[in-house]
Symmetry: C2
Subunit: 466 residues, 2 copies
């Protein structure tokens, strides 16, 4: 028995993501008969995805229909589920920003986040359209910033929103490194905020596995850190930096967590290579990023080739195993009551103690026909709450306040408070140039100085040293 | 009609404070017949204060009794009110710490606050004793850190606590600079946390006075900042830095507020002289601090001289006007129902929206026989709440958690997160040396590394640049 749905994918041009989704839905019998509507602003990419998706489903003999459009309104018509994976910020533009900041002494962009704003704007556009066109559909937010974006959307719209991310699979990487072969015998919890989650429970075959991790650190850690060569830029789960954060804060940080916070791991490439694996020093370096983007481009080229060569078996090219993505299983749970437990990003409402109700947290949830039900997890230790979670709640509130009010001085404050800023004048120079950068016209128009704030644009004039 | 009380002063050796208190109580008829008990660990200073206080009261013909003791238990016996103005951290020790940090590149101590811990310990000693000896007495906390200390004491003891500070009188300095002659026609509110308060209301003769401040900034500000020479090291209320903070955050910061937060005003002496008045660049510089401490010592010397010369009129030396301190008027309100409005530090319980109930806030309060009644003020703007108030709530929680648990890595985290720290190794070196510094034995014993944390003490070993 199956229940056909209409699933709309916004930002469907992200080839790997969309084809993974097609695979998962093809291999989910209970969604047979469904319509997948691809939407993207890039018509060529859209055409490619449409063709490959339809061909793959055909090869598998799956009963699915496909459509594609560059018009978001059309795509949302009669949608039951909307997956938003779009980003309004290109790799190129992010690189331009990083290069500009490099000039002023910030390593790899100094982790400023002005590029979030264009994506928040995009997200509000989607929920706005959905309220009009498909107000009962679920929105599965799969593009960044998941945490800030889902908080904003759930505060300002009536659309049901669930944010997803892969970061929590870092737990599997720990398990594999420790030699745990039966991942189905693993139980764990890692609640927090998206990209800021902490392993509170970690059991293997019913036994606490933290002591096994301790043993690994004591006996193998140093050797691993000295010799391990990463295969992927993002392979940092067992790195020296991640274990160091565990020592500092008391719980293992999972997935993308070691990429944020704790500025001292990220000051320069030599330092990054101390904390994160060779050859890249983690995903956020001038070595890793071009390699990562190049790989994405290679994959697109490969798919373009596949599109133009109808004789190749796509089953052979992509395999016929489900991915580990949660989107389709969650949809299946909601539609067909195939209940499961997932790691989701939803408004807190008491699931994670100490965090306000209207902040989106990342927690485990039971998903079934009656909805997405976050599990009320054990509280995080106060040390993690006060030093890692709540400071980022405040950062998010600042970011949403800036977005809502268009107060340029709040963005400037981010530049001032960036850990790599060493003087007022440095922050002022980089900020003014960043706002004037090509491609930031919309940003620059939205964020305005207030009355009297010309004083903020005046550099410090110290007397010349005698 | 008068109600005699017993008032105990802990840390009474602070000459100026204790004599101000004597003055105020002498000039408050309704407290006539009271007993003032001076307590300090310095018997010489105690003797001087006792003699000067008794002589001054005698000259004025005030009906007061005095006693002095180095034993806190004795001093607390039958106390109705306890004023704690003691500090367990000497100027000399603070200077040693600053000098040590200077070596590692931190200007004027880099604003680390490990010296708070000895005072928190002292405060808990006082509330512990009071619970045993005088459980119904009010504790008026007048020594720093008022904010962290009062939060700690009200969370852990049953003693009634009210914290006081002078900082809010900065509003009068604004008024005087703007030429407001009748300060009794001024109404204002400046709520927040101690040393972090913001002028939300500012009326003179019933008119909003913020526009008058705006006019002053536009017409006189630049000239004032270029030419003004401070008379006191702490004279920063109308400085360029304070007005800059007003421009940045939208409300005037009052009193000591511009001394905290916003690291970029405090990086070096040249920068400080840009933001704060000549000749010292504000109170927290290597020029101001010795001058300030020297002045305190001069005042003690002057008092010692007065003690040894019974022919001098103390009324002539000290005057016979009440001080602006709030301690005695608050006591008078509580004892004799002489109701008044004061600026107090008490647990929030809804007075200041957005701040948790069990955090001590600085707010106006009505004081009368039935108690200290905080006024529920208008909320602070979200910008001030998210960028200035709540980050300091989190810092306080971290500090109290560190104090409670003795977790040394939380102190180390402060060193790492200090705005003047530029590398892990720098923070590690300065922190390890600071903990070993003479006089920090108790601190070093209380704060321990946890299991496995030896990894945190390992410096970063980057490869030599090629």
């Amino acid at each position: 028995m199956s229940t056909p749905i209409k699933l709309t994918v916004i930002g469907a041009g992200s080839a790997q993501f969309s084809l993974g989704l097609v695979k998962d839905i093809c291999l989910t019998e209970s969604l047979s008969g469904s319509l997948i509507s691809f939407m993207d602003i890039d018509p060529d990419r859209l055409d490619m995805i449409h063709k490959l998706g339809a061909r793959y489903a055909n090869e598998l003999g799956a009963d699915l229909r496909f459509e594609s459009t560059t018009d978001r309104h059309d795509a949302l018509q009669d949608a039951d589920f909307v997956i938003n994976t779009a980003s309004a910020s290109s790799h190129q533009k992010q690189r331009d920003g990083r290069e500009l900041m490099e000039k002023y002494g910030y390593y790899h962009g100094g982790r400023m986040r002005q590029s979030n704003f264009v994506n928040l704007d995009l997200m509000l556009g989607v929920t706005g359209d959905m309220e009009e066109i498909c107000p009962d559909a679920w929105l599965i937010q799969s593009g960044n910033p998941v945490y800030q974006g889902c908080t904003l959307m759930t505060r300002t719209s009536s659309i049901k929103v669930c944010g997803l991310c892969h970061g929590h699979y870092g737990v599997h990487q720990i398990a594999r490194t420790l030699g745990f072969t039966d991942l189905e015998d693993l139980t764990w919890q890692a609640p927090g905020l998206n990209h800021n989650i902490w392993l509170t429970h970690f059991y293997y075959k019913g036994e606490d596995a933290y002591p096994i991790l301790e043993k690994w650190i004591a006996e193998e850690g140093e050797n691993y850190w000295e010799t391990h060569v990463a295969e992927r830029t993002h392979d940092i789960q067992m790195s020296r930096g991640t274990i160091h954060m565990y020592r500092m804060f008391g719980l293992m940080p999972i997935g993308d967590t070691p990429r944020r916070g704790a500025w001292w791991y990220h000051t320069d490439i030599d330092t990054k290579k101390w904390w994160f694996p060779q050859p890249w020093g983690g995903p956020d370096t001038h070595l890793a990023r071009p390699y990562f983007v190049e790989n994405l481009e290679k994959r697109v080229a490969q798919m373009t080739k596949l599109t133009s060569d109808p004789s190749t078996s796509l089953i052979e090219a992509f395999g016929s195993e489900k991915t580990h993505e949660q989107q389709v299983p969650i949809i299946d749970g909601l539609v067909n009551d195939n209940e499961g437990q997932f790691q989701v990003n939803v408004p807190n409402h008491g699931a994670l103690a100490g965090v306000p109700d209207d902040v989106v947290v990342e927690v485990p949830a039971i998903v079934n026909r009656s909805g997405i039900h976050p599990i009320r997890v054990d509280p995080l230790p106060r040390k993690v709450l006060y030093t890692q979670i709540m400071p980022e709640v405040l950062e998010m509130e600042r970011e949403l306040l800036a977005f809502e009010t268009g107060d340029r001085s709040l963005l400037f404050l981010d530049a001032l408070e960036c850990e790599q800023t060493h003087s007022y004048n440095q922050a002022l120079s980089v900020f003014e140039e960043l706002m004037e950068m090509g491609g930031n016209e919309k940003l620059s128009e939205h964020f305005m100085w207030g009355p009297g704030q010309e004083m903020l644009r005046q550099p410090v004039r110290t007397k010349e040293p005698a």
